[in-house]
Amino acid sequence: MAITFIRVDDRIIHGQITTRWSQEYPCDAIVAVNDLAATNPVIKAAFLSSINKPLYIWTYAEWKEKCDKVLQSQKNYFLITKDPKLMAQILVDDKFDPGRREVCVGPANDRPGAVKLGNNQSLMQDEADAFEKIHQAGYKILFALVREDAIGYWPKFRGLFGYK
């Protein structure tokens, strides 16, 4: 085992991850890939103090350097990005094979021009394009803040963004 849960989450590390998802799937450690968080010492420290498990906040460059070591690990890792475009880059463009084919999507704020799929789950067109790319690569994409609040898989929503 290596990657047990893949998450796109605007808040990266927060209560829904630390109190819920990390209990729902085997989780020995978490890798969060985000250039801004990885280079902001205050945010990084806040994230690191919020969970009692090894947590790696990496830039994309660090991820590229170390991702093979994660795959080789015998431990169970969560992989989190803030942005679906980076997740598409990792899973599709970089052909990183996590060994599982499901992505879970968390909070995404409503913003001007965004299409609202559900409570606190809104997407811009370029984000939808990234999910479509991940979908076309054979991944199931579930939108769920927490398990009980799941609103459905990507095929239910892709029509809203011009995909037939």
Partner: protein, 142 residues
């Protein structure tokens, strides 16, 4: 069935319920009653009594109060006692989010002392001081 009830002065209990809901999803076993500034304790008592009215004698209540010995705490205990629910209740004060979250998520998996200890230890651990300089980053991949 086990129910979680939060009680407080002001709107703390309502707010805490709303915060916990973000972590648990909507549930029908989690309630709040608040003693607002313009309310008398009688009105609070009526609301609390109305809430527990449908509970059966074998139902269990996990009561969380903001502070020990405030009116919401005292009044809730009195009503639970009147309804014959107190003997099967667990009463916690100084509630915080990790306590209530633990109660909601664990209450149907563990019972009695185990549940009580889980709730208290999570609540106590959460009261801490954030020292940015003490935070250590993992160097090696495990």
């Amino acid at each position: 069935m086990k129910y979680v009830i939060m009680v407080s002065h002001g709107e703390f209990a309502q707010g805490l319920r709303s915060a916990v809901r973000m972590m648990t999803g909507e549930r029908d076993d989690m309630f709040s009653v608040s003693l607002k500034e313009d309310m008398g304790t009688n009105q609070f008592a009526d609301e609390f009594a109305k809430l527990v009215e449908p509970f059966a004698s074998d139902d269990e209540v996990l009561l969380f109060s903001d502070i020990l010995s405030g009116s919401p705490f005292t009044t809730s205990l009195d009503i639970l006692n009147q309804k014959g629910l107190l003997a099967k209740s667990m009463v916690f004060t100084g509630m915080n989010m990790p306590m209530v979250l633990t109660a909601v998520l664990m209450k149907d998996n563990i019972d009695g002392e185990d549940l009580k200890e889980a709730i208290l230890s999570e609540g106590r651990m959460a009261v801490t001081f954030f020292d940015m300089n003490a935070v250590k980053e993992e160097e090696e991949i495990i």
